[in-house]
Symmetry: C2
Subunit: 370 residues, 2 copies
DNA sequence: TTGAAAGCGCTAACAG
DNA sequence: CTGTTAGCGCTTTCAA
């Protein structure tokens, strides 16, 4: 019963028509009712499935899209991926998954792999910068960034950066407008000092508003020594943090980890030990939040009595912690879905970027300064 | 600069040789040193990348593999996926991802999609049963199951089921041996009452040992009314639970949820309310564990004072809970990696299943019965 | 060692 | 409305 799959030729013969007719019928072209019916019947009977290989080769464009995330073990990227998959499925498109581990080299390799596969569209949470993505785009790929921009995209709001006109609300949510360079304006951060940024649409959360809200909240609680614990790709978030706390920023209170959980823990622990005077910390992602909770516990710091905590990402377990974590929620699933939509629509009108709203969800991990 | 990608023909012309020669050189065939060098140089210069489409079409077999998981938002499946990706990457194979939502229909659709793409190998955490997988296999797919077996695979140890010869230790870990049907023996559960189970290799955790250990541990703490909170695909785990607690099992203490978090919460909450006399619960997965913690808190049940909790899956946040959760750890990443290995090796020798060890990690969520 | 040629399954021109 | 035909980019006989 190991029979070869039926080809269009088999169907044509069995139905007594030409292959072109079969092709037409199956792709909704014109055909006499009776022919159509016969072909359909035969096709069904033979359990015929058109080979995407043949089709794609012929049409020199392959369906499907790539999806690159740093780490599927990070719940946020799981949410993002679910969003992409949902949209892709509804469009009948396969998605090729790649996990970059926040490593530009792996990412570049993955791009090469996609190219070989003939997949020329990719949604990426970028790890590398222009080095990786410039070539990819030149090679003809359509790319949409999600969650963050390439690391070498301008993200630093220098001391004294002006606030953009949109500050205060992610009012543009949904209207969608802008490419990477525009987004930086939208976001209120100054445009590139570098030559020309990648012209790629992106779906991002309104990190700036999210961070600002968190910092203000903490400030309102009396906190003055607020730290930021970031990871790879949190450039826009630190920038927003710097802006929110205002100059001069205490640089010792801004620390970065690499992508791993170990590194995150080390960074958190180091921060708490080197600056026992800090009273609050906001983390750039949930893995860092996890690390902060762990490190605080290990050092016998009580949350929120000794240290207040705001974590980026509203993951299910944030509620399980005790106290439950106050978080900056960003819509991971939506982000993925919208990115996929952008990708799918990239053919027709020029895709425009979108900035999704964040929300400060107050639970129990922040308290008044003591 | 939107140039078409170079084809083998371009390389051949530029190098002044025939396409066949280029093909040979690039796939390590024989060629005179100088020819080879020239071809290689030209190929590099043109940034030539062989089209997987062309190759696959010609060879009627496509590289790559599918990966189906129920939900990427579940950290365990994230780990599993990372494992698969790691192995696939080292083999240079692309992986096409599908999220089934524990829905057999979606799963079947995804199988169809793979078939169309010409992807004939898939690693699946199966949602459907023989209905889905029988046809897939007949259609010529190579499939490897991970984490669980199809729902209609025999998994119920009836009352009085004998213990298998391997009971007590996952001693066969690593040696790998058996197909689905064998595994059920390995696992100590009676073979199918149904005709003929799918003959598919699988990578599973030693659920039986894991559950047994947990139940014994709870028993040792004095618990007698132990509940099991399961979800889709936890058939083997309930079976093991039933066996571990021994007949007669209090059926009200065995409750199931569907895949969603809401359903999990409802089930947990319902369980606690309908049986306030229970003193311990073991959950079949981390999402259910999450639900149990939440429901307990909502009902003002203290863990572990009022109720002890053991959760399947050691996810990072288990340690963040308070008290930290005692868990049955299973190696998600390894599971994925091994499944991919099995898949890759499926060509050569007949793949054999493997049973991975579980470990009871005692933290703070269990206490003596009160 | 090398090149020419025949397809893999499909769609799109172009005739009939 | 329908069939024939020419490839898409590649590997693989089969000769030279």
């Amino acid at each position: 019963m190991e029979s070869r799959r039926a080809t269009i030729k088999d169907v044509a013969e069995a139905a007594g028509v030409g292959v072109a007719t079969v092709s037409r019928v199956l792709s909704g072209g014109s055909a006499s009712p009776e022919t159509r019916e016969r072909v359909l019947a035969v096709a069904a009977h033979l359990d015929y499935r058109p080979s995407a290989l043949g089709r794609n080769l012929r049409q020199r464009r392959t369906g499907g899209m790539g999806l690159f995330v740093p780490d599927l073990t990070d719940t946020f990227y799981g949410q993002l991926a679910e969003g992409v998959l949902a949209c892709a499925r509804s469009a009948g498109e396969p998605v090729v998954l790649g996990s970059t581990g926040d490593d530009p080299e792996q990412e570049a390799e993955l791009v090469g792999m996609l190219l070989e596969q003939g997949v020329d569209r990719v949604i990426a949470v970028p790890s590398g910068g222009t080095d990786t993505w410039g070539p990819a785009i030149k090679a003809g790929m359509t790319v949409v960034f999600a969650d963050r921009l390439p690391s070498d995209a301008p993200t630093d709001a220098g001391p004294g950066a002006r606030l953009g006109s949109l500050s205060g609300s992610p009012s543009d949510e949904g209207s969608g407008a802008a490419t990477v360079s525009d987004l930086m304006m939208l976001d209120g951060l100054p445009p590139a000092s570098r030559a020309r940024p990648l012209d790629v649409p992106a779906v991002l959360a309104d990190d700036r508003a999210g961070i600002r809200t968190a910092v203000r909240y903490l400030r309102g609680l009396g906190h003055r020594r607020i730290a930021f614990l970031g990871g790879p790709g949190h450039g826009r978030r630190v920038a927003a943090f710097r802006e929110a706390v205002g100059a001069p920023v205490d640089e010792d209170l801004v620390v970065f980890a690499t992508g791993s959980r170990d590194s995150a823990y080390a960074a958190a622990s180091g921060l708490f030990q080197s600056r026992p005077d800090l009273t609050a910390v906001v983390t750039g992602g949930n893995v860092l939040g996890e690390a902060a909770v762990l490190a605080a516990r290990e050092l016998d710091l009580r949350v929120p009595r000794d240290v207040s905590l705001v974590m980026y990402d509203d993951v299910p377990w944030a509620e399980l912690c005790s106290p439950p974590l106050t978080v900056i929620a960003q819509p991971g699933r939506d982000m993925g879905y919208r990115a996929a939509e952008l990708m799918l629509r990239a053919g027709s009108r020029r895709p425009r970027s979108v900035l999704l709203p964040t929300e400060l969800i107050v639970r129990g991990s922040c308290g008044p300064r003591h």
